[in-house]
């Protein structure tokens, strides 16, 4: 009957924070042609550097809150690079008119 | 002059041929009422027929040199650690909480008290309108004799570890000669404290702080145009007073004190031996080893010989020509802790329990 107990709201699950925290200000600073080092200085280290796809960095930021005063957060940002540096950006805080708003989903 | 006081009383060394007791008459003996514990230089001083003495608890008193009758007594209720400096303007003592006090020689009234930078562990030098004081932190203060105001301050470096206590400055005409803990001797202008010359009597060497100690704790002896100074674990040196040139040096670890007469320089060393050197070229004349093992005070000239007090509490008479131990004399059961003072035919002695005596040796 442990599983039933597990659903009890009172059960304490430590707040889980994952990935690299980036916010709108950081994304606005991104410009085409930036080197990987510059991108890293602005956003922090890439959360996922997929072994099977090259020239692509994925930033993920997730917060599963435990206490009331923290709200859930889930952000995604995908950057692709080409020969001369940063090419496209897709995900949160990248609205249509962002210089890097790439085409391919 | 004087050397560091005698620390512990050892039993007297076994002498092969114990010399006879001299016929001594005690002119007067009076209690200062204040002990003089080891570790402090509280030497009695003489000035125009009066004996001035100070005790560790702050007592200062003056007695008539002939009768021993007390002229005045003053209680400064502060620990006195360096006394007694006498001069025409007053009687000066140094205290443990870094103060110099000048008293009126006639009434004992306090003329002024002046703060200095650290504790004063040796008698101040009084004369030529000034009071010159050496302090534990390597400082030399010249104070105006009448007001006590600081005229100038000279600072020397202090090694990491130095011997307990320090020497007294010696006044010469227009200047003062001071030995420091770093093995250097300096002559300073009395007027403005400029350095006339500096001589390095001994150079610290060795690996540990202990081996590198070269304190000039024995007061330098000035006679004629020469200054004789000696360093602990170092050398004794004959130096020209005019320009600080070192005439000669001899390897001796000087501790007790230095005294000089027209032909020789007499030095007591760390191991309790008394050396005599020719004052012109430092050639050794004789050496008395009989008192080895004791710690000896500075030698004093008395009649045509020398007297020295040892940490066994005996007063020793020594021949100047041959360094022979001629006679020894012990007071009832009290120990000497400070160098005796010679007043013509008489010897003034202050023992550890504060008993002041004036004695003299009957002519054979």
């Amino acid at each position: 009957c442990a599983s039933t107990v597990e659903e009890l709201p009172i059960l304490y699950k430590p707040e889980i924070r994952q990935g690299t925290l980036f916010d709108e200000a950081d994304v606005d600073e991104l410009r085409a042609g930036m080197t990987r080092r510059q991108v890293r200085f602005v956003l922090g280290p890439p959360t996922i550097d997929d072994p099977f796809t090259d020239d692509r960095w994925d930033y993920v930021y997730e917060v599963e809150p435990r206490s009331a005063d923290v709200e859930a957060v889930s952000r995604r940002l995908t950057l692709t690079f080409d020969a001369n540096g940063l090419a496209t950006a897709r995900g949160d805080f990248v609205d249509a008119d962002h210089p890097l708003a790439g085409t391919a989903r | 002059c004087g050397g560091p006081s005698l620390i512990k009383a050892e039993d007297p060394p076994a002498l092969e041929t114990p010399p006879g007791e001299p016929a001594v008459t005690e002119h007067w003996s009076v209690s200062l009422g204040a002990a003089t514990p080891p570790g402090y230089r509280l030497e009695p001083a003489l000035m125009d027929e009066r004996v001035f003495a100070a005790g560790a608890d702050g007592t200062v008193a003056a007695y008539d040199a002939a009768s021993g009758e007390r002229r005045w007594r003053q209680d400064l209720d502060v620990a006195i650690t360096g006394a007694v400096g006498v001069g025409e303007t007053g009687v000066a003592v140094g205290t443990a909480n870094a103060e110099v006090v000048l008293l009126d020689p006639d009434s004992g009234a306090v003329k002024w008290r002046q703060r200095v930078s650290s504790e004063v562990l040796a008698p101040p030098a009084v004369g030529q309108g000034s009071v010159v004081v050496r302090t534990g932190d390597g400082g030399v203060f010249a104070l105006e004799a009448d007001t006590g105001e600081q005229r100038w301050l000279y600072r020397s470096g202090v090694p990491a570890l130095s011997l307990r206590g320090h020497g007294s400055p010696v006044l010469v005409n227009g200047g003062v000669v001071v030995g420091f803990d770093n093995g250097r001797l300096a002559a300073l202008e009395l007027g403005n404290g400029d350095v006339a010359w500096e001589a390095s009597v001994a150079v610290p060497e060795g690996r540990s702080d202990l081996e590198r100690m070269v304190d000039l704790d024995a007061d330098p002896a000035v006679a004629g145009g020469d200054v004789f100074a000696g360093a602990y674990q170092g050398r004794v040196a004959g130096i020209a007073l005019a320009n600080g040139q070192i005439a000669w040096t001899r390897e001796v670890s000087v501790l007790g004190g230095i005294s000089v007469d027209d032909s020789n320089v007499y030095v007591t060393d760390e191991r309790g031996r008394l050396w005599a050197f020719d004052r012109r070229n430092g050639a050794s004349v004789w050496r008395l080893d009989a008192l080895e093992g004791l710690s000896l005070t500075a030698p004093r000239r008395y009649r045509d010989g020398l007297i020295v007090a040892g940490s066994d509490g005996y007063l020793n008479w020594i021949g100047r020509r041959d360094g022979a131990l001629e006679a020894r004399y012990a007071f009832d059961n009290s120990r000497l802790s400070v160098a005796p003072r010679v007043d013509g035919e008489r010897i003034v002695v202050l023992d550890r329990r504060g008993q002041l005596r004036s004695i003299s040796v009957n002519q054979q």
Binding site: A2, R17 | D137, R164, M213
Partner: protein, 743 residues
């Protein structure tokens, strides 16, 4: 010329093979001047030879060596302060050990080295001479004579220029100083330069914490007496003025809103300038920044002295540096504990920013597991990056299991035969299994319990326990009746916060009584309830544990609130037992820890007119509750003067614990001075002789000395206690101890 063959001359003990091994030349090589010098140098480096020369005989290279004698024996005479073993290590460390080749200049250097070791201990009067005597077969024996002399001791410390504080107060700040006559063992009077600079540092802090912002030490003189035994220290200081704090500014990139950081500042303007509070505020702000990933944040306080009105304005410059992310968490040192058991306790995850708060409470959670004697977490930077670190968790495991078997003697229980297997960290899974078979004159207990940790991912633990207990009360100096209790319980421990846990267990209990010479009360009880009683109890408990470690904690507290209720209908007697326990730990300084325990237990029946079954009564007295009194002897007594226990119990204990030995065993042994208090009351019984009213005067007190030692075979406790206000009929027992009993 090309070398046809190599011959070696002058070898005494060293084998040719070894020499050839080092010689960078072989038959057939071309011999050039450069190579000869290399060869000679190579042979010299071995340290075996005093002299090496190469000769030519036709095409054969002749290596002429003059072998250094080997050291056969090294003796130390006269050394008591430093034992020969350490001296020998010092020598062989520097290349002069037994079996190594002897080298005279090295010996002189070694003598200096040994002298330095003695100077460091304050033995300035030491004198070391070594004599070398030859032995057959080109070997030598080395004799080192050490004359230690007396250690220099500090006779007096004098302060010049202290107006605000008197000399004794300042001497108190110093650790070094003249030794009081009674402090025979103390090292207080040992002089060393490091201790002096440490003391001067303490003096600066002492003044800076009391407002003397520009306090300075002008000079210090250390003087030694001619016989090198007495040292005097004179400190010339300039106190300066006492300052108050002006306005306090926060500058730089604050990350948090200004107010959150401002109320972390432990010093407010107008107060006396206090360096320690400023440092505390700086650390608090750096901590706060650390919680948001700025692990390398720096806050530097810049004071400006306004001398005229003696005020210091303070600006705290906050520089968060970069937010730092965790690349990987590496756990090491866990020889038997599984990696996930440790990783499960860490609230810091990989791939997210580093939070110093998470690291701190991960460290204390690991400490509370009780499996480790030491846990250290470090965050080295990932090479080549400025924004990534690895978290290294190095745990040193403790013998967390204990096999207790054999005969013991408990002052409370008499002869104790027990076999107990308890493994806290079963096969490294973190689960705890315990099998105990105890028998002494009063009790025979068999207990099997299993705690499965992290039964579910979310950290719920499951536990079951089965126990059978046959208690002959008479032997335990209680009323003479026998109780056979069997219990089986099953339940969970549910974490509800970082340090709070809820416990929910269901226990089936079967109690069989037999009376040999029942008292009135027992006859009446048996009439009403018969000899055997069954009950099903639910046991709810709430525990909050903020201790920093399980073994001898020095901070935090552990509280437990428990309520066990015998469920109606299914239990013969409907009763409940409530208990609240709390132990609080405060570290007075690195050695001394103050422990405050308190327990309150109350039980009663809620059924019609019943009372708490007498065999469920609470007892007090004995080594676990109130030391100095016989086991279970406190509280009301029945007609033949046997203690009956009661349904209300109050216990209190104040203890100061300190380790005695500093060696590696030091951290599982503690001495303690304590004061115990406790009493048991029975509100319900009417026919008791002395109707006990609940009052503080009823409490019994005792004070004494105790020792707790976690030996490899289990905990071992001894206590000597003096009852303070024992009344006539209390049975006191000054000396009590237990071996291998589990807590």
């Amino acid at each position: 010329f090309t070398i046809e063959d190599i011959r070696i001359r002058g070898l005494d003990r060293i084998a040719e093979g070894t020499v050839l091994n080092y010689l960078p030349l072989e038959a057939g090589d071309e011999l050039t001047p450069a190579r000869t010098s290399d060869a000679v140098e190579a042979l010299f480096d071995t340290g075996f030879f005093d002299d090496v020369s190469l000769l030519r005989d036709g095409d054969t290279l002749i290596v002429e060596v003059d072998e250094r004698p080997a050291i056969a024996r090294i003796e130390f005479i006269g050394n008591s302060q430093i034992d020969s073993e350490r001296l020998r290590e010092g020598l062989s460390g520097a290349g002069l050990g037994e079996g190594q080749s002897f080298d005279r200049p090295l010996l002189a250097r070694i003598e200096r080295e040994l002298e330095q070791q003695y100077f460091a201990l304050g033995y300035y009067d030491v004198d070391i001479e070594s004599t070398v005597s030859p032995l057959p077969r080109n070997r030598v024996s080395l004799r080192v004579d050490v004359e230690e002399g007396e250690p220099a001791s500090v006779q007096g410390i004098r302060f010049i220029g202290n107006r605000a504080f008197d000399v004794d107060r300042l001497r108190g700040v110093f650790e070094m100083g003249p030794k009081a006559w009674w402090a025979v063992l103390s090292q207080r009077d040992k002089y060393s330069r490091e201790r002096l600079s440490g003391d001067l540092q303490r003096l600066r802090a002492f003044y800076r914490d009391r407002g003397y912002a520009d306090f300075s030490i002008e000079s210090t003189q250390v003087t030694i007496s001619t016989d090198r035994e007495r040292i005097n220290i004179t400190v010339n200081l300039d106190e300066g003025q006492q300052y108050t704090v002006g306005d306090i500014e926060l500058a730089g990139d604050l990350i948090y809103p200004r107010e959150t950081l401002r109320d972390l500042i432990a010093i407010d303007s107008g107060a006396i300038y206090n360096q320690r509070n400023i440092t505390r505020s700086v650390e608090a702000i750096q901590e706060k920044l650390g919680e948001r990933g700025y692990a390398f944040a720096r806050v530097n306080p810049v004071p400006e002295l306004r001398e005229a009105d003696r005020v210091v304005d303070l600006t705290l410059f906050v520089d968060p540096a970069e937010r730092v992310y965790v690349r990987r968490i590496r756990i090491s040192g866990n020889e038997s504990t599984r990696d996930d058991v440790i990783r499960g306790e860490l609230t810091q995850y990989e791939g997210t920013w580093l939070s110093t708060r998470d690291l701190r409470n991960s460290e204390s959670r690991l400490g509370r597991l009780g499996f480790f004697s030491d846990v250290s977490i470090s965050t080295p930077r990932v090479p080549g990056t400025t924004d990534q670190v690895d978290v290294e968790v190095d745990a040193t495991e403790r013998l967390s299991g204990s096999l207790r078997a054999g005969v013991g003697f408990g002052s409370d229980q008499g002869l104790l035969l027990n076999l107990g297997v308890q493994q806290d960290n079963l096969f490294g899974t973190g689960d705890r299994v315990e099998f105990v078979a105890n028998s002494d004159d009063a009790d025979t207990v068999y207990r099997l319990s299993y705690l499965e940790r992290n039964h579910t991912m979310s950290g719920i633990d499951r536990r079951y326990a089965l126990s059978f207990r046959d208690r002959d009360a008479d032997e335990a100096d209680l009323a003479d009746y026998g109780v056979k209790t069997t219990r089986a319980s099953y339940g969970y421990r549910i974490p509800v916060s970082g340090s709070d846990r809820l416990g929910a267990d269901v226990t089936f209990e079967d109690v069989a009584l037999e009376f040999s010479d029942p008292t009135e009360f027992q006859k009446d009880f048996q009439a009403r309830n018969g000899k055997s009683n069954r009950a099903i109890l639910t046991d709810l408990s709430w525990t909050r544990d903020t201790r920093n470690t399980a073994i001898f904690p020095s901070s935090g507290a552990r509280q437990r609130l428990g309520l066990a209720v015998a469920l109606p209908q299914v239990s013969d007697i409907e009763y409940y037992r409530f208990s609240y326990e709390q132990s609080r730990y405060l570290a007075l300084n690195e050695q001394f820890t103050l422990v405050l325990d308190g327990t309150l237990s109350y039980g009663n029946a809620y059924g019609e007119g019943e009372r708490l079954p007498f065999y469920e009564n609470f007892f007090a007295g004995g080594i676990r509750t109130v030391r100095g009194y016989e086991a279970n002897s406190l509280g009301p007594r029945d007609e033949n003067n046997d203690p009956t226990g009661g349904n209300l119990r109050a216990l209190g204990r104040a203890e100061i614990r300190f380790p005695l030995a500093q060696d590696e065993d030091g951290n599982n042994l503690r001495f303690a001075t304590f004061i115990d208090a406790g009493q048991v009351w029975d509100r319900e019984r009417d026919n008791l002789r002395d109707k006990s009213d609940i009052s503080f005067s009823g409490l019994r007190y005792s004070a004494g000395l105790g020792l707790v030692y976690y030996s490899p075979i289990g905990p071992f406790t001894v206590s000597i206690a003096e009852p303070i206000n024992d009344k006539g009929n209390d049975d006191t027992q000054r000396f009590q101890f237990t071996i291998g009993a589990s807590f």
